[in-house]
Amino acid sequence: MAAIAVSTTINGDNVEYLCQPDETLLDVLRDRLGLTGAKEGCGTGDCGACSIILDDRLVCSCLVLGAETEGRRVETIEGMAHGDRLHPLQQKFLEHAALQCGVCTPGFLIAAKDLLAKNPDPTEEEIRFGLAGNLCRCTGYDKIVRAVQDAASVMKGA
């Protein structure tokens, strides 16, 4: 199979890579670009651990081909903090201990960031529905929901 040359934007940087036609964006991020924050949980769009934002849409990077991002805008967990300054969601996940093993966490953070961008003041129910595409098998979801609520109030005040 001939490799495809792709030119795209990832976390604000212009990035060029070669990928195979059947290679997912998740594999490109992890194996070719060293961006290992997005995780492969299921590989079939059920668990949300590979969540990224593609042109302002929350998607599973396991359900996107690497070849599809030509000329588009990709945001991953690696672009969430500014240097040493954590995003309020990251800070609140730490404070609320909203993670244990951490495999689901990048996906939850990206999904929560997308949720708050579209709905800055969500109800608990809206948070639970909004994050239903992300599975956590350690903490249960209460701490995650509380961290998102707390981050939302911090971000509103900012």
């Binding site: 199979m1 997912t24 769009g45 849409r57 998607v59 996107v64 070849a67 599809e68």
Partner: protein, 286 residues
């Protein structure tokens, strides 16, 4: 395997028709990539249709709406006009998958995946939606119920692509609704589903009706007898009773881990009644 991203329908159709091996159309990829990952298909050619002009748009025309094949269900959910005119179609589209899947999945993909349990299809069938098909022989328009022919199978010929789903402009006093049963609260596959679309006269009497059931037969069922049970009446208890009975009787379900035949029959009647009640209220019926 080759991946191409044509810029025109003509090019896409030509590439698909001229492909010697197996070819797959890629829009949202939420079915295609899962099947590729599982090893169920290994296409020689993937035709990504998202760069084709207009396919990512919902257009309001004189006749109604044209929903392009690359329009995500999330975008449908954000369309105020579509929500106002076809709330049942939108609520069905919004039930497909998680937020992540919503950002990618399309109703054309849902239709062409040809699952008997597809959420958007009963709502589209009830709505009388049509599929605009472009192929080597030109353009044709068919009722959406003519597209799936059985689980995983469609009536599309080699080289044909559905360009858009067409919905009519609404007559006054019209409403539609879609309901499904799942054992969870969200993100699951329908065990039974029902779509109902009604137009009333000025006295609240049902003038026209379409009732469709999902996940109770190899393809979505358009139940004409159920529509007849409603037409010419207000939506009183007798009409609802008859609707439920007819829908239960029309089912040809299978027994599987998600539901028994008996359960599916019963629930089909219940959901049809509830969807009809919602559609009636949306049409302004009292």
């Amino acid at each position: 395997m080759r991946y191409i991203r044509p810029l025109s329908m003509e090019d896409a159709v030509g590439q698909l028709a001229g492909s010697p091996g197996t070819a797959a159309i890629l829009a949202g990829g939420s079915d295609l990539l899962v099947r590729m990952k599982g090893g169920f298909i290994e296409p020689d050619l993937i035709v990504d249709i998202k760069a084709i002009d207009g396919l990512g748009e919902i257009r309001e025309t004189a006749e109604g709406f044209s929903i392009g094949a690359a329009v995500s269900c999330a975008l449908m959910g954000e369309s105020a006009a579509l929500n106002r005119e076809w709330p049942g179609v939108v609520e069905a589209a919004k039930l497909i998958g998680s937020k992540q899947v919503q950002g990618r999945c399309t109703i054309v993909g849902n239709l062409c995946n040809a699952s008997p349990a597809a959420d958007s299809v009963p709502a589209l069938v009830a709505a009388g939606a049509r599929a605009l098909i472009v192929g080597p022989g030109g353009r044709r328009t068919v009722a959406v119920e003519a597209v799936p022919t059985g689980p995983g199978k469609t009536s599309l010929a080699k080289g044909e692509i559905i360009e858009a789903i067409l919905l009519d402009r609404r007559a006054p006093r019209s409403g539609d609704a879609y309901l499904r049963f799942i054992p969870r609260t969200e993100m699951d596959i329908a065990v039974v589903s029902a779509g109902v679309n009604l137009t009333l006269d000025e006295h609240g009497v049902v003038k026209s009706a379409r009732v469709a059931l999902g996940a109770v037969a190899p393809t979505v069922l358009l139940v004409e007898e159920a529509a007849e049970a409603l037409i010419g009446r207000k939506l009183d208890e007798a009409a609802l009773e008859r609707l439920g009975k007819v829908c239960s009787g029309a089912c040809r379900p299978i027994d599987d881990k998600r539901g028994t035949v008996e359960f599916r029959r019963k629930v089909a009647g219940v959901l049809a009644r509830r969807a009809a009640t919602t559609a009636y209220a949306r049409a302004g019926g009292k």
